[in-house]
């Protein structure tokens, strides 16, 4: 990953903002702490915001400022945002770019051609994934110790959850698109950790319908939407008259922000969910 011939336009673009110091090394040496990090992925945002102080963050995605889906909307409000566009990368001229699986191949290809240091992260679907990805990003930004601390915090929360009496609560989890929490999702990982058993049919691809809910007869509904944006078609199912009739007062909120992205913080969400579950069922 060399800047090579792309250095000039990158400098020109950056001049407008902050100037392009000629003395700065063009290629950060391995192990050095990249000064300013730009994240192009909503989930990487969460980790970057947790690992780095605001002055070391070039920008995060605009999605991270949405409190409905971002657990760190307040932190994101203190740093610049981007919309995942190549021009923004050129303008902000970060020392490291973190891309995710939703970053378009065109943009990734262009960044590689322009020689930007690029870290690509996968989506997490389990606590093991979270440990791996947290370490990956922490090392890339030169904050390995901070990363280990985050993971240790998560493992403490998980250990606390594991110590709790295990009388699994029968639940069905909702999301804006109906039910969710199928096998291989973070949502399921949280539910399991919190001591809830998802009793909806386990096919993650197929959204179970009202009939499945009636047949499963869960003790509680865990509603995953609760986005502040207001009504949506997905929530229409939540408003089904049967759900209102049979499960009113037996519905828990689990904001989408808590499980959309795999970060060590989701263990904290699981802890909170576990507490609410005990409150409701005791």
């Amino acid at each position: 990953m060399r800047r090579g011939s792309a250095l000039l336009p990158a400098c020109l673009a950056a001049l407008a903002l902050a100037g392009c110091s000629a003395g700065e090394p063009a290629v950060p040496s391995p192990g050095a702490r990249p000064l300013r990090v730009m994240s192009l992925n909503q989930c990487a945002d969460q980790l970057v915001l947790a690992l780095l102080p605001p002055e070391r963050i070039a920008s995060v995605t605009w999605l991270s400022r949405d409190a409905g889906t971002s657990a760190m909307a307040a932190e994101a409000a203190r740093v610049p945002v981007n919309h995942g566009q190549a021009e923004e990368v050129l303008a902000q001229s970060p020392d490291l770019v973190i891309a995710g699986s939703f970053t378009t191949p065109a943009l990734r290809g262009m960044l590689r051609r322009l020689g930007y240091p690029l870290v690509e992260v996968e989506d997490a679907a389990s606590f093991a994934d979270i440990r791996r990805i947290t370490r990956q990003i922490a090392e890339a930004v030169g904050e390995g110790a901070r990363g280990e601390a985050l993971i240790a915090g998560m493992d403490r929360d998980l250990a606390a959850l594991a110590r709790q009496p295990t009388q699994a609560v029968r639940v069905v989890a909702w999301d804006r698109s109906g039910f969710a929490g199928g096998a291989g999702t973070l949502q399921k990982a949280i539910l399991d950790a919190a001591g809830a058993r998802n009793v909806a049919p386990a096919d993650a691809q197929r959204r179970p319908d009202m009939e499945a809910l009636l047949a499963a007869r869960p003790a509680l509904l865990v509603q995953g939407s609760a986005a502040p944006a207001g009504a949506s078609l997905g929530d229409d199912v939540t408003n089904h008259r049967l759900v209102r009739r049979l499960w009113s007062g037996r519905t828990l909120g689990l904001p989408q922000a808590a499980y959309v992205c795999g970060t060590p913080a989701i263990a904290r969400a699981a802890l909170g969910l576990s507490r609410s579950l005990r409150d409701r069922t005791s």
């Binding site: 804006r176 319908d209 499945a212 009636l214 944006a229 078609l233 008259r241």
Partner: protein
């Protein structure tokens, strides 16, 4: 002869489909359980599934399919064009646009009737524009105006998708546009049924006029038909019925196109005589497709509108070729 048997045959088909739709689903019921659930007021699983899930879904399938088939038959007779249907005149996309605006820009949260009313407004607006642009210069220009208006409404939906408040909202709009009857309750029936019934009355009132229009507008007018009023009845009826249907199920295409063709030959091609059988055929198509979406259980749920389009589009192609060949 065949015409006399057609309606009873379609009614029998509908009864068979309706019974199947009450038994089939995520929870399978035996006929005995189903019958017991309908009589027994105790709220057990079968009773809830039956009364609160399957019956409203069945009623909605009948209403939506019926109004789509009926409006297709009326529009084909009115415009004397076998390719006419509510979608062609932009009614469906206008209704979709209205519903999408109502839902995603906060109006639906304010009051329950917002979605159907916005969908109706969208449908009526497209019809009004199409009528204003196209009526004076004959049916072809009405159809062309309809296609243009439909394209504008489609662009509006895409714009709404583009400016959706979040990627999740965009995803929901997309899924909703595919059309579905899953998890619709009596609330939806109550929302849509009045408009669909009023729309049907207006549409059925055109029957005699549609027959006369087979001779062209001049002869129809000379036979005492108020041609302008017939256009109004047909288009307002379509906007009311299809607008309300779209508001609760999303867009379901091709039913309005296909249903009249299935019954036309059996009634001697008389446009007025196709209305009732086309209504029944439309209801049967939507009901059968809804059952099919419950039976196909591999992978993600297949949306009703997608399923109907997947079967309907090849039929449309065949129709275009067939019409070109026979010139009828």
């Amino acid at each position: 002869m065949t015409a006399r048997l057609l309606t009873p045959a379609l009614v029998l088909l509908l009864i068979a489909l309706a019974s199947t739709s009450l038994l089939a689903g995520t929870v399978w019921l035996t006929p005995a359980q189903a019958a017991a659930a309908l009589v027994d007021p105790r709220a057990d699983l079968a009773q809830l599934v039956m009364v609160e899930v399957r019956l409203p879904r069945l009623v909605l399938a009948l209403l939506v399919g019926g109004i789509l088939g009926l409006s297709g038959a009326v529009l084909q007779g009115l415009l004397r064009n076998p390719l006419a249907e509510p979608g062609l005149l932009g009614v469906s996309s206008g209704a979709s646009l209205g519903a999408v605006i109502a839902i995603y820009y906060g109006f639906a949260a304010g009051f329950t009737l917002a979605t159907p009313l916005f969908a109706l407004a969208g449908a009526l607006a497209t019809v009004a524009v199409a009528l204003a642009l196209g009526r004076t210069r004959g049916t072809l220009s009405l159809i062309l105006a309809g296609i243009a208006v439909s394209a504008i409404a489609g662009a509006g939906v895409n714009l709404a998708l583009n400016f959706a408040p979040s990627p999740y909202a965009a995803y929901e709009i997309m899924t909703w546009l595919m059309g579905s009857l899953v998890d619709r309750s009596w609330d939806h029936v109550a929302l849509a049924a009045p408009f669909i019934l009023v729309g049907s009355v207006l549409l059925f009132a055109t029957a005699r006029a549609l027959d006369a229009l087979a001779l062209g507008e001049a002869q129809a007018e000379s036979l005492g038909i108020h041609v302008r009023r017939t256009y109004l009845l047909a288009l307002v009826g379509t906007a009311l019925g299809v607008g309300a249907a779209t508001a609760v199920t999303g867009a379901i295409g091709f039913v309005g196109l296909v249903a009249p063709h299935l019954v036309r030959a059996a009634v001697g091609q008389r446009p007025g005589a196709t209305l009732l059988p086309a209504t029944l055929a439309g209801a049967a198509i939507v009901l059968a497709a809804d059952i099919a979406t419950r039976l196909i259980r591999t992978g993600p749920e297949i949306k009703l509108g997608v399923f109907v389009a997947a079967v309907g589009a090849p039929f449309f192609l065949w129709l275009v070729l067939h019409v070109r060949r026979t010139g009828a």
